[in-house]
């Protein structure tokens, strides 16, 4: 219940800040819809939305979110939003850096028929941002990624890389030479 209340508060804080920054209208709509859902669960406080399962949660050593877009200002504001969300949800942010932009240049003929000497040059720039978080649990990662992806602006693509921590399988836990004795 306390966790629910704190998450509602953090969502409300986020919604206040997001209104000030330029994000598309759908983001605000999604924000409003998610807060409405949370209000619904608060009304029925006795039945929580969290489900308990027996199996242990997957642990991620590193969660890397890479966003690509044509507009650097949009990526700036999205990075601010994602880092703020991570900080509010208590995720450990490693670093948020900007990989080098990629420029694709095309030199084409200007005219339909002849005039080989006269060409036109086009270029397409792809800016990128990378946000890396460490030591994240599976359920936290799922919630954070769902929130981030629902508010992804148009014209921005996202790539998520998760590095999970696995238990060593039983058959290779002990080295082979301890069992068989050499004579």
């Amino acid at each position: 219940m306390a966790a629910c209340v704190s998450s509602i508060r953090s969502v409300r804080v986020l919604s206040k800040i997001i209104h000030g920054h330029f994000l598309p209208a759908a983001a605000v709509q999604h924000q409003a819809s998610s807060s409405r859902w949370l209000h619904g669960t608060r009304g029925s406080a006795l039945s929580p939305a969290v489900s308990l399962t027996e199996e242990p949660d997957t642990l991620y050593q590193e969660l890397s979110v890479r966003v690509k877009g044509h507009d650097r200002a949009v990526l700036d504001s999205y990075e601010f939003f994602a880092t703020l969300a991570a900080r509010e949800l208590g995720l450990t942010l490693d670093r948020a850096f900007e990989p080098r932009k990629h420029t694709e240049k095309l030199t084409l003929l200007k005219s339909v028929h002849i005039f080989k000497k006269h060409r036109v040059q086009y270029e397409s720039r792809t800016h990128q941002r990378c946000i890396q978080m460490s030591r994240v649990t599976g359920s936290t990662a799922r919630v954070y990624l769902e929130y981030i992806q629902r508010n992804l602006p148009e014209g921005v693509a996202m790539e998520v890389t998760k590095t999970s921590v696995e238990k060593i399988p039983e058959h290779i836990q002990k080295p082979l030479w301890t069992d068989c004795t050499l004579e």
Binding site: A26, K110, F115, H118, R125, P153, G155, A157
Partner: protein, 171 residues
């Protein structure tokens, strides 16, 4: 010192005038021209005229101002590096623009902006208040229904109406 500089300058100007007069004389017909007719770009530009042609902000700025003074009319991820599907998006965009131009004939104040968020297709348009609001609502519903059945994805139209076409300047 000053006299020497002045005399050298006068000599240089005399030389230049001699050269230009020789070039333009009847004996030789070579003239210097700096830009060939093919060097001029004509894409998405409205040529400067007498001052009676009204032009919107979108039409006033040339394509090299995109990203600096203009935004993008069609926003999707297929033109980014490592993403595909650009050709399909272009075809869809062309169809949607023609469809909007035809359905809301004479009502469009400016170019239609097409945004794609995941599966959702958002069409943003600015209209002149030529029709009654009820007719606008009907046409919006008709467009949304038809396009969503055609493209098998949810289609939303975000419309804004304006009394008259917003003029940025006269060319």
């Amino acid at each position: 010192m000053n006299k020497n500089m002045a005399t050298s300058l006068v000599r240089q100007t005399k030389l230049l005038s001699i050269v230009s007069s020789q070039l333009n004389s009847a004996a030789c017909f070579r003239n210097i021209h700096c830009s060939a007719a093919c060097l001029k770009n004509r894409a998405a530009r409205i040529r400067v005229g007498k001052g009676d042609k009204s032009v919107t902000y979108e039409q006033a700025y040339h394509p090299h101002h995109i990203g600096h003074r203009k935004g993008w009319l069609s926003q999707h991820t297929s033109n980014l590096q490592g993403e595909d599907g650009a050709a399909e998006r272009v075809v869809e965009d062309v169809f949607i623009r023609r469809f909007m131009y035809g359905t809301f004939h004479g009502c469009l104040a400016d170019e239609v902006v097409i945004k794609r968020r995941g599966n959702l297709l958002v069409i943003c348009a600015v209209m002149i208040q030529k029709l009654l609001p009820s007719k606008f609502y009907f046409l919006i519903g008709y467009t949304e229904e038809l396009l969503s059945h055609f493209y098998k994805c949810p289609v939303k139209i975000e419309m804004q109406t304006v009394e008259e076409k917003v003029v940025y300047k006269y060319l």
